[in-house]
């Protein structure tokens, strides 16, 4: 799959998330300037709350794992794997994301590597 140019660094919010639309799917993009890598992209749809809200959650770490907490019912989703920490077998898709200068580029993770099979 090709990298797609989604937005610029200007559109991101440091320490937090924004939503983007790629091929009709909603993606939550998180920008953590202190981390390496600084960008993370997972599905915006919260499978437990049933609404597109993960980009609006609080980012942090739980036992060293980078996570976002759903703003609806506060379950944590890993920014690296998309797995839900509280419920086994629940996860959200993950995208590959990188910065090219100030451009934010995104592409789907190969299906084999994605827990949800997206």
């Amino acid at each position: 799959m090709q990298w797609q140019h989604i937005c610029t660094r200007e559109d991101l919010v440091a320490g937090s998330g924004v939503a983007a639309l790629i091929n009709g799917e909603q993606v939550a993009l998180f920008y953590l300037p202190d981390q390496s890598p600084p960008l993370y992209a997972i599905g915006n749809h919260d499978p437990i709350g049933g609404a597109n809200v993960l980009s609006r959650g609080i980012v942090g770490d739980v036992n060293g794992e980078l996570v976002v907490a759903s703003p609806l019912y506060k379950q944590h989703f890993s920014l690296l794997t998309g797995a839900c920490l509280e419920q086994d077998h629940v996860s959200v898709p993950v995208w590959e994301v990188k910065l090219d200068g100030d451009k934010v580029l995104l592409r789907p993770l190969p299906a084999a590597l994605n827990r949800t099979g997206t």
Binding site: G15, A19, A20, L21, L32, N52, V53, I58, G60
Partner: protein, 851 residues
């Protein structure tokens, strides 16, 4: 008396007459001894409900129900194969046939019989005492009768200024009556207190608006002119009232003893020996109906000891009742009163030390033996902090320190507080359930690791609760000795409680989460500590919460300044101070709601909530609202929400102050204050309390002379009536106290802890809060006020700041790379308004679209 050679019954039918606290304790003790009990137990109760906690009867005037006070439900009796006959009083004991007979005609044979019939309230035989508005205060039914009667009454009189009389007076006060207490003796609580203590108590009680009349002998009760009844006194002007509650002492309920010819005392009471046996060896008497060594014990703890004695004897074990300590500690109308041992210094040669602080309203008296080696007793009014220590000195015969007066002098003079370590293992910590320090340590060794565990395992502090503070210190010391650390850390990133972190941030002058984390924490933070730190920073500095360094810390509601709903849309609540709104503004709300098709609902806080706004619509909606003069309502924040009000003296026939004006003033004063949890206020214009101020964090009720302030109430999941904090305040005094209470809460509460729970967990409770806020014992009052001033000065309408900043508005986009709204947000219409589509409805809608 009994013949010691008589063979006791050892099995068969055990009949217990009376299901009060003591009767119940006997059943419970027997049941807990295991299945092997040779006794088949039958309990007969005159009341129509199983045993309940009579000591805390007045809690029924707060937020408790009779069920809350129940000691064990009827099902517990069934589960333990105890036959419980409720509402069927025993009227006769046939000793010849060893049978009891009830009013309902039930006959039950017994092999052993226990009388636990308790006592009845003494009603002096004053002519007119049998009027239907003359009541007593002893049972749940009595309380119901008092409540019913009070519904039509304006003024109530309690006859009797003792312990129970003052409890009853407090009940009348809580029911909103003008309350009077009439006492025959020249002072209040003549049994427990001396003249000085009585006078101090009187002053404190009068400050709560209760009228006290001492040295009054009632001669006649007849019809009144202004009120239902008139009380006529010997040599004094009469007093009119709508109801009278008699609480002039108790008398042992010994009528069955009298009927069946058991030996009675000269002034009543069924005579018992050290095994609690009556003159009939098959019959025992325990509790307030029993007369031991010419004494009636009118407290629950000695009754429990008697119950345990009888349980032992019935099981063929040694049991001995050899009297009981009558020390007691309680809170009467918010005033602490304690009496230890020989408080009246009646022992020959007793010497006294006295400490009196008329400013703080504290009186302490220490009674020591002639040789000044031991504590004989103590009297405490206004502050019972020394009670536990003094009681332990007295009970355990611990030698006095060199300077005995230091035991009752203010703590600043280095009172040698008796730490948990200083107590011998045998020291009784909980006298209701006879739990010693050794038993507590055994329970800790057995795996208990918290105060709650200990209470469950030993029942300590589950009776009168008087030993709660001492128990906590014994448990804490025990845990510490076992290397257990009590963890109240905020989360994995901060090894501090919220309160500790607050002080670290304040003292360190820290301004951002990054600084706080780098100085005191680890890791990146999480959804627990980030909003908590953001809230603390806001309480201290009150910066705009969406500054770049704060934005990632906030819950979504704070980030988007609106309340997220289940479908990811938001609701919008503009501030409507005190619920007062002009027709023009009301129409603006209607127009905006209609334009954006928002579901519209009136809130409980007298505002209007507009639901179903999508993220990208929020700035557009707010632009219109701000243009019309609205400002943000902070419904999204852990912060001051609304000040609800009734219409007050401006319109209402009954109002005595301008409640709306005060509510608007308070709402503007405190809007924007970030706090550990949301804060709700209300102001009522008179005692009818239409604004329901007593269910709020801060409640204000108008009086003829100013304002009464109530604090730490709550509606919601666990309702709690607010506590009356101070009375008849001027506007200025009111604001000063509210400033201090709020800031002290902000400083010391745990994260997401409402004021009600905060107060309940505050060591020292309401009294401590009064000391800090009113008496300024910590010397921080000026600091608290100054900090409130900072917060107030920096107030900004967060929506106006946001609307004015194009950078900030960038966040309110559905997608960074598309203008389209979120297609998954779907509404259907119900009762003429939109609502989120359910999952089924949504799939139907999407199909319709795709066709």
């Amino acid at each position: 008396m009994t013949d010691d050679n008589t063979v006791l019954p050892t099995s068969g039918n055990l009949v217990i007459i009376g299901n009060g606290m003591v009767g119940h304790h006997l059943v419970k003790t027997l049941v807990e001894q295991g299945d092997a009990s040779p006794w088949t137990i039958h309990v007969f109760a005159g009341e129509n409900r199983p045993a309940y906690d009579r000591v805390h009867l007045s809690a029924l005037f707060d937020d408790q129900t009779p069920e809350d006070l129940c000691l064990s439900p009827a099902q517990w009796y069934r589960d333990n194969r105890v036959t419980l006959h409720l509402n069927d009083e025993v009227v006769e004991i046939d000793r010849d046939h060893k049978t009891v007979i009830t009013a309902g005609g039930v006959r039950q044979d017994y092999d052993a019989l226990v009388l636990a019939t308790g006592s009845y309230p003494f009603v002096p035989p004053i002519p007119g005492h049998d009027h239907e508005n003359c009541l007593v205060y002893r049972t749940v039914d009595d309380l119901d009768a008092i409540k019913r009667c009070a519904g039509n009454a304006k003024r109530g009189v309690v006859v009797g200024g003792g312990l129970l009389g003052l409890e009853a007076a407090n009940a009348l006060r809580l029911l909103g009556l003008e309350t009077h207490v009439v006492e025959f003796a020249p002072q209040l609580m003549p049994v427990q207190l001396d003249e000085t203590g009585g006078a101090l108590l009187r002053k404190e009680v009068e400050a709560l608006g209760v009228h006290i009349h001492t040295g009054m002998k009632t001669e006649l009760i007849d019809a009144g002119e202004q009120h239902t009844l008139r009380m006529n006194f010997e040599g004094q002007a009469p007093l009119e009232t709508d109801m009278i509650v008699f609480s002039a002492g108790i008398r042992p309920q010994d009528s069955l003893g009298r009927q069946s010819g058991l030996e009675l005392g000269e002034r009543g009471g069924i005579v018992v020996d050290n095994q609690c046996r009556t003159s009939d060896p098959a019959i025992f008497a325990i509790g307030e109906c029993a007369l031991w060594n010419n004494q009636i014990f009118g407290l629950v703890a000695p009754g429990y000891t008697m119950a345990r004695t009888v349980a032992a004897v019935l099981n063929n074990q040694a049991g001995d009742f050899t009297g009981a300590d009558m020390s007691t500690k309680l809170k009467l109308m918010g005033v602490d009163v304690g009496s230890v041992g020989d408080a009246q210094a009646r022992t020959a040669g007793a010497r006294c030390y006295r400490f009196q602080d008329e400013v703080a309203g504290v009186y302490r008296k220490l009674v020591v033996s002639e040789d000044q080696k031991y504590v004989l007793g103590a009297m405490l009014v206004g502050d019972c902090d020394a009670y536990d220590t003094l009681l332990q000195y007295m009970l355990n015969g611990i030698p006095l320190p060199d300077n005995p007066a230091s035991l009752i002098l203010p703590a600043g003079d280095a009172a040698p507080a008796l730490g948990a370590d200083a107590l011998p293992d045998g020291a009784t910590i909980c006298s209701c359930h006879n739990v010693s320090k050794g038993a507590i340590n055994d329970a800790l060794d057995g795996g208990c690791c918290s105060l709650g565990d200990i209470k469950d395992a030993t029942k300590a502090s589950t009776g009168c609760g008087g030993c709660a503070a001492l128990l906590k210190s014994v448990v804490d010391a025990g845990l510490e000795a076992r290397g257990v650390e009590v963890n109240n850390h905020l989360c994995e990133h901060f090894e501090y409680s919220r309160q500790e972190l607050y002080h670290l941030i304040l003292v360190g002058g820290l301004k951002s989460f990054r600084e706080v984390r780098d100085t005191h924490g680890k890791g990146l933070g999480c959804d627990i500590c980030k909003p908590a730190v953001a809230s603390i920073l806001a309480s201290i500095h009150n910066d705009y919460i969406l500054e770049p360094e704060h934005v990632g810390l906030q819950d979504t509601n704070d980030v988007f300044l609106a309340n997220m709903q289940k479908d990811g849309t938001y609701s919008v609540v503009p501030r409507v101070p005190a619920g007062e709104i002009t027709p023009e503004k009301l129409m603006t709300l209607g127009r905006v709601a209609s334009k954006y098709d928002l579901y519209t609902k009136i809130t409980g806080g007298q505002r209007i909530d507009l639901f179903g706004a999508r993220l990208e619509q929020l700035p557009l909606i707010w632009e219109e609202l701000i243009d019309a003069g609205f400002e943000t309502g902070h419904a999204y924040g852990k912060s001051v929400r609304t000040v609800k009000s009734c219409v007050g003296s401006t319109w209402c026939r009954y109002g005595v102050q301008d409640s709306v004006g005060m509510a608007i003033f308070l709402e503007h004063r405190y809007k924007g204050l970030r706090s550990p949890h949301k804060l709700k206020f209300a102001v009522s214009g008179c005692t009818r309390e239409c604004a329901e101020a007593q269910s709020k964090d801060i409640g204000v009720i108008a009086t003829e002379n100013g304002w009464n302030l109530y604090v730490c109430g709550n509606g919601g999941m666990r309702p709690r009536h607010a506590d009356l904090f101070a009375t008849d305040l001027s506007d200025q005094q009111l604001v000063q106290l509210v400033d201090r209470v709020l800031m002290f809460y902000v400083r010391t509460a745990d994260r997401l802890q409402r004021t009600s729970v905060w107060l309940e967990n505050l060591e020292g409770g309401l009294d401590y809060l009064r000391q800090v806020v009113i008496d300024d014992t910590l010397g921080i009052a000026a600091e608290l006020e100054a900090q409130m001033e900072v917060v107030r000065e920096r107030y900004q309408c967060e929506w106006r700041t946001t609307i004015d900043d194009p950078q900030k508005l960038k966040r309110f986009r559905s997608f960074v790379n598309a203008e389209t709204p979120d297609q998954d947000i779907r509404f259907v219409r119900e009762r003429g308004q939109p609502r989120p589509a359910t999952e089924d409805e949504r799939s139907d809608l999407i199909e319709t679209v795709s066709v």
